[in-house]
Chain length 266, copies 2
């Protein structure tokens, strides 16, 4: 499982405050704790109206002061994402492209011939309602990726996780999308913002955990989440063991011994 | 999901002590808290060497003093199970039969023509290693059920949950058994002792929860577990909502409001 640590995001009020006040220690600490918790990428999203590239530069520099974990550059603007690539000391991930406007062209042309990875959302301007439509967008994205010679293994397809409370048939649609994407390209990654599932419902953690298990079972192998959430990390290792991806639970036991999950040791 | 509350079991040291000391209040309390937590059946297992029927009688009477929730009579002896049926004020469940000896004949002939339900383990004298062998035992049990005119909907098939730590391919075998049983008889119930999965591993609760989610996804709709385990109950309701068995999460929200899961209210 590839963990994209979500904590450095200006959409979170405490992070917005740290960004506004240029509280460098706050940001460094978020990078540090996510690295220690086992993040594979540190997502960096400024979520500011003005000076987004400068703010991203400041954030990325701070993260790189405390960790070698690669950066996941997160912006709704493809141009901003590409502009931030030179700030990164090592190849990371772009978050994200979709079939909206010319995003694929802008990002894929920039990462062509590099080892950079990329999140691709299965939407255009709006969010398609059916599995069929999302898989239609998927085909379009894969055609674009082929055009720029981006191997499927460099893509993290986000099927778009939506809130469960307005669904009439549970998560069957998103599960169908995940399974189909994985069947068509076994080397591709499937990712998602797991906690979207529980918007507007009580006790969000159990819903997030149940969704993680079911989406991993369908083929999700990457996720945007909080790696310092020990229950979530434990559920991830437990599920990998259940799915036969962890012989004799050695990874599960190892992660427990490293303190990634389980009761906090004094 | 049908919850069979597992707390009144003489194999648990504190319960063994209560049985040895004939601590009626201890037993009544276990029945009460499991009922309040939402159990559909109260499992009663004496786990004593001598005077098993008498001990079961004492236990069953105590449970029935405090709750109307039906009893699940639990004994390795089919004869003891049948002998305890008259102690129950209303039809319950027998736990369990298997293809060992004449268990099916003893129990099925006793519950023939009644509404009693029955747990059936997919084993004979030993525990079959492969899915194929367990499904072979399943066919034999269904033939016996047909002989005694026991409808599939009265059976809770236990595929035998074994510890994950000695498995090389995760839970794929038990999942295959659950799926096949449900496909062959859609009205049948599939049950299991969920916590068996985590024997000899650290942080058992995350493994138990991940297994519950995956086995429910495969078709398990009944479980022997501790209904006072709020995380487990929450995971159960969350999974039903994910699987499209709970329109607009109304059951999930209802169970939360009733206090079945979530933070304990002061």
């Amino acid at each position: 499982m590839i963990v994209i640590g979500e904590k450095i995001n200006g959409a979170i009020p405490s992070v917005a405050k740290a960004i506004a006040e240029r509280d460098a220690d706050w940001i460094r600490n978020l990078a540090k704790i996510q690295t220690e918790a086992g993040a594979d990428f540190i997502d960096v999203c400024a979520s500011v109206k003005d000076d987004e590239v400068e703010t991203m530069h400041w954030l990325i520099d701070l993260v790189q002061e405390v960790t070698d974990t690669p950066i996941c550059i997160d912006s709704p603007s493809a141009e901003v994402c590409v502009a931030c690539m030179p700030f990164c000391k090592k190849p990371g991930m772009i978050n994200s492209v979709s079939m909206e406007g010319n995003k694929c062209d802008v990002v894929f042309s920039a990462i062509q011939g590099t080892p950079w990875q990329c999140v691709a959302l299965l939407c255009g301007k709006g969010i398609p309602k059916s599995a069929e439509e999302r898989l239609g967008v998927f085909s379009q994205i894969m055609a674009k990726a082929k055009e720029y010679n981006i191997a499927p293994s460099r893509l993290h397809i986000d099927p778009l996780v939506e809130m469960l409370c307005t669904s009439e048939d549970g998560i069957s649609m998103v599960i169908e999308v995940i399974q189909t994407v994985k069947e068509k390209y076994p080397s591709i990654h499937v990712t998602g913002a797991v906690s979207n599932i529980s918007f507007n419902l009580p006790v969000r953690k159990v819903l997030n955990q149940a969704f993680l298990v079911l989406s991993m079972n369908a083929g999700m192998d990457s996720a945007v989440l909080d790696p310092t959430n020990r229950d979530m990390m434990g559920m991830m290792y437990a599920t990998e063991a259940m799915l036969g991806l962890d012989d004799y639970c050695m990874e599960y036991i190892g992660a427990y011994r490293e303190g990634i999950f389980g009761p906090v040791k004094a």
